[in-house]
Amino acid sequence: MALSSNVRGNNANATVAQRLQKELMDLMLHPTPGVSAFPSDENMSTWTATIEGPDNTPYSDLTFKLTFDFPANYPYAPPVVLFKTPVYHPNVDFSGRICLDILKDKWSAVYNIGTVLLSLQSLLGEPNNSSPLNGQAAELWDKDPAEYKRLVLARHKAPEELDG
């Protein structure tokens, strides 16, 4: 092939940075209430984001911190998104990994940081209990909302309590 992988790699990184630059601009110019995101390193490949728990859910008034890690072939592959704030939720495991189709096989290059954050926000209020990572949470969601809420609050930590 005429192109060495090195050249292609650089091209790819330039494209990723360009695209993320654009996304940053968009987030700054059109801030969405309840979500925010900002690059956490200079080459823009990792970002830190926050989402507010949606109203009328066990997560209301709580703020959650997340990290985005962008692969070199972004946006043709999804970012790796992790909850940094401990979350008690059927589709989030204890290390903050998230089970959400658009972050896996249903990822599309038209999604961006904003759409991912909004999807995660709605996932908090509408868990997918058919394929839970946290089986107990899935069970309690319907059975015992009060106990569920207690466990959510017990697990949650305010952003300033986190070390990262």
Binding site: A2, L3, R8, N11, K22, W107, V110
Partner: protein, 483 residues
């Protein structure tokens, strides 16, 4: 994790495993005889279908099977068809038309900032190709192939055409509603067209044809190669280009895909191919005039020029881009001359093995084989007689076993092709390799010690003079050749 979960996990991994796709994203155009070769050892249905393929579709081009090949094949052939049209202004028209399709993308809610990046890759390629056509630098084909082999560029263009397809489905929901689950076209697009990892399905192809291919004045057909009964590949999708009155456009470029379950490649008819090369030349009056004055008996039409160009080694493929990919299959088509040499040697083991135990029958059929072979070394006087009278041996010996009598015809043509006379020592290079193209070759058998007429055979039985034939003379002569 319990053992059961682990097993389930391993099972999932193994069923989801796909070998890493290799090869160029879009390969060099090559003879479709390579497909025939690829299936030479496959199921008979594949063999029959692929054997019939090169006669109709002389060339093909591979697309890397990385889950994007269908989209990639359509996008690539779309640009290639524009080159085939060769009208520089067409590129500008297409850019304007695609730009206006941006309304669709905006309408169904894609962020303009995001989709425009993907669209720009396609527009940029249109502009580059237009410049190349205008400047007649002959680089257009190379630009196209290089762009599609750049991972980032090609993914961007693929994403763009997928968004076009998705937007088309969603804005023409009535046309597609009955073909998607629950009639929910938006959900269908979100699950089956928009995701990065999803191969083109019928709905996607139909939508992209309507959005991209047909309005450009092109047709699209998909040919399906599978194990269904039949002697040729089947057409599984067809769309004709139509004019404003819904009438088919005559001689419109046709994009052709070859579909094998799970994978798309690109097909060409022989007539599809030379035109892209003639375009830069046909638009170059000084060159034509010059040629006309130089060659009296040469009519310098555009197609002539192109034909001449393709005959010059190296001109056909200026980039030399696909050298690595060419490998075996390429050789097969490029140098047919090597085949007559290889054919008598390589099939030897397969043809011979079943015969070995029956030494008597092998003696029987040796005679025709011998005599036909001997004709090559005859004096001209005997030559004709000998060729005309092979049946004379048959009354003397029992009739040859049926499979062998079929075999006899093939080696005749091969052996007469050249002065090459195989001997038992020439077997080694191809020995053990099984090439099924001409599986039955017996002409060299007479040089083998499995032949009872060979002095090394344990059941050695010299060939006998036959009183009522003219064969006596050359048989004796021939024996000295073989031993």
């Amino acid at each position: 994790m319990t053992t059961e979960e682990e097993l389930a996990h391993l099972q999932k991994l193994s069923s989801e495993y796909e070998p890493e796709a290799t090869g160029p994203l879009v390969g060099e155009r090559q003879s479709s005889a390579a497909i025939t070769t690829q299936y030479a050892n496959a199921d008979p249905i594949y063999r029959v279908k692929t054997a019939a393929l090169p006669a109709k579709y002389a060339y093909f081009r591979t697309c890397r099977g990385d889950g994007h090949c269908g989209w990639r094949a359509i996008a690539f052939t779309y640009f290639e068809a524009l080159l085939r049209v060769g009208d520089a202004s067409k590129f500008g028209q297409e850019e304007a038309r695609l730009m206006s399709l941006g309304n669709l993308l905006d309408h169904i809610g894609y962020s303009h900032d995001i989709w425009i990046d993907f669209a720009e890759s396609a527009f940029e390629l249109l502009r580059k190709l237009q410049l190349s056509i205008e400047h007649m630098d002959g680089a257009a084909e190379t630009i196209l192939l290089d762009t599609f082999n750049d991972e980032g560029e090609s993914m961007s263009i693929i994403t763009y055409v997928k968004l076009l397809a998705s937007a088309w489905v969603q804005t023409h929901a009535d046309d597609f509603r009955h073909f998607v689950p629950m009639g929910d076209v938006k959900a269908y697009c979100g699950n089956n067209i928009e995701p990065t990892q999803c191969e083109a399905d019928n709905i996607g192809i139909a939508a992209l044809t309507e959005a991209l291919v047909k309005p450009a004045g092109f047709g699209l057909e998909v040919w399906y190669l599978d194990r269904s009964p039949g002697e040729e590949i089947n057409r599984s999708f067809y769309s004709e280009s139509t004019d404003h009155h819904q009438m088919p456009i005559q001689n419109a470029p046709m994009l052709r895909l070859l579909y094998r379950p799970g994978h798309y490649d690109i097909l060409y008819k022989a007539g599809d191919v030379p035109q892209p090369q003639q375009q830069p030349l046909s638009a170059q009056p000084p060159l034509q005039v010059h040629l006309a004055s130089s060659f009296d008996d040469f009519t310098p039409t555009a197609s002539n020029v192109a034909d001449v160009m393709t005959m010059i080694p190296g001109m056909y493929n200026p980039s030399g881009f696909g050298q690595r990919w060419a490998s075996l299959s390429y050789d097969f088509s490029a140098s047919p001359a090597s085949q007559p040499q290889a054919a008598p040697v390589q099939p030897y083991p397969t043809a011979l093995t079943p015969v070995t135990p029956a030494s008597n029958s092998s003696l029987d059929f040796i005679i025709p084989s011998h005599s036909s072979h001997g004709s090559q070394y005859n004096t001209p006087a005997h030559h004709d007689l000998h060729l005309d009278q092979p049946p004379i041996t048959l009354p003397i010996h029992p009739p040859p076993p049926p499979p062998v009598s079929i075999d006899r015809t093939a080696p005749l043509t091969v052996e007469r092709g050249g002065p090459f006379r195989p001997s038992m020592y020439e077997l080694e290079p191809g020995f053990g390799s099984v090439m099924q193209v001409q599986p039955f070759q017996t002409s060299i058998f007479r040089n083998s010690h499995y032949n009872t007429a060979h002095f090394l055979n344990p059941d050695f039985q010299p060939e006998e003079w036959s009183p009522d034939g003219e064969y006596s003379g050359h048989k004796g002569r021939h024996k000295s050749h073989s031993s």
